[in-house]
Symmetry: C2
Subunit: 199 residues, 2 copies
DNA sequence: ATTATTTCTTGTCCCAGTTCAATGCACACC
DNA sequence: GGTGTGCATTGAACTGGGACAAGAAATAAT
């Protein structure tokens, strides 16, 4: 098993020794999941925290009236889990996690993660930082949802996920941006016209 | 100094021994801040994490075009800080934190918080849970911003913060909900009419 | 008490984005 | 090679909420 990808990723904000990385790697479980598999559904407890080696996953809410909102796309080098605090209140998850491509993961369970923190406590810090990044990005999306137009949101999305439009159906991106699939299509037509003018 | 309020609050998700709580309390600094004081402004580094004993604080973004969005109201028993991950990248904050009433706080600095984690590591867990709660609530707000009408958002807000409308100006609530102050006024009129019908 | 300042309400007009079709397109699959 | 089936595009009609303006009401300041 090749751990260089995940080790590089986790070392971005904290410098770990080889011993620490060895412990880290020994607790990870490799998992292959085919396309269109629902890994977590509403009402279940989320018992994994998965690092995406390869593939693409979406995480979403469905509200009582059936309206769906995508909370996160996770592609290579990202983590997916129900990181909401339901874990600590023993409440089941309100979200769904579903693969959109054939995926490969490295996975922690609550138990192996706890073991990691016991054996190599400095990983607490790394995971706290991941959580902070997640929060910062969610805050930014909240801000965008409130203050930006569809076109602005789409252009910012393209900068953040330049490859996703080639990988997933457009209506998922619309759901992520909080606009209808039809209006995203119109917005893209407009954006294309603008970049035509620019050359 | 009376620490019973903060000790009760921090013990909600983790049970601490008296020794741990003593360490916790010894590292906190009491601070009184008058109304309408800006505690953090854009471009500064946030060097505090404050527990609200009494009063009310708002935390907000201002975008380049001058548009303002309130990210959080913090009242009694809540924590305020720039918890975005900018801390770890040494980037200055993009947000403002401002008191809306005369306030009393118990405050950690990055240094005293680090000291707390060293001397009583189980507080890591408590603060991680706070972060999770924060993230869950931000995710929920994102979902609401995308999928709910102004009326629905206002009614949910009333359940979450029943006392705030009596404490802060309406246009701040509008900014939190992501709607204009005028439209909030119209929405409230509509909500009042509905509850009239109900009796 | 009077004035000034901020906040709240209400009305009118307008637009970004929705909803609901209809049509075209690109596949997978027998 | 036809034919479903899901996806993207485009258009027409509609609506939630914004922008602006002008009063009313409440708070603060002198």
């Amino acid at each position: 098993m090749d751990f260089s990808q995940i080790n590089k990723s986790i070392s971005r904000y904290v410098n770990f020794s080889q011993e620490e990385l060895d412990i880290f790697n020994s607790l990870l479980e490799y998992k292959k999941v085919p396309k269109k598999t629902i890994m977590l559904r509403e009402g279940e407890m989320c018992n994994f925290e998965a690092f995406v080696i390869k593939g693409c996953v979406r995480k979403y809410y469905i509200d009582p009236s059936g309206f769906e909102v995508i909370l996160q796309f996770a592609i290579e080098d990202a983590w997916v889990s129900d990181i909401s605090f339901s874990i600590y209140e023993d409440k089941p998850s309100r979200i769904f996690i579903e693969t959109m491509e054939d995926c490969e993961f490295l996975v922690f369970t609550p138990e192996t993660k706890e073991e990691l923190f016991t054996k190599a406590p400095r990983f607490e810090r790394a995971f706290r930082i991941l959580l902070h990044r997640n929060l910062a990005s969610t805050q930014n999306r909240l801000f965008n949802a409130i203050s930006k137009t569809a076109l602005e949101k789409y252009l910012e999305f393209l900068e953040l996920y330049p490859t996703l439009p080639q990988r997933v159906a457009q209506h998922y991106i619309a759901s992520y941006l909080g606009i209808s699939a039809e209006f995203l299509s119109k917005t893209r037509a407009k954006a294309a016209k603008i970049s035509d003018f620019r050359g």
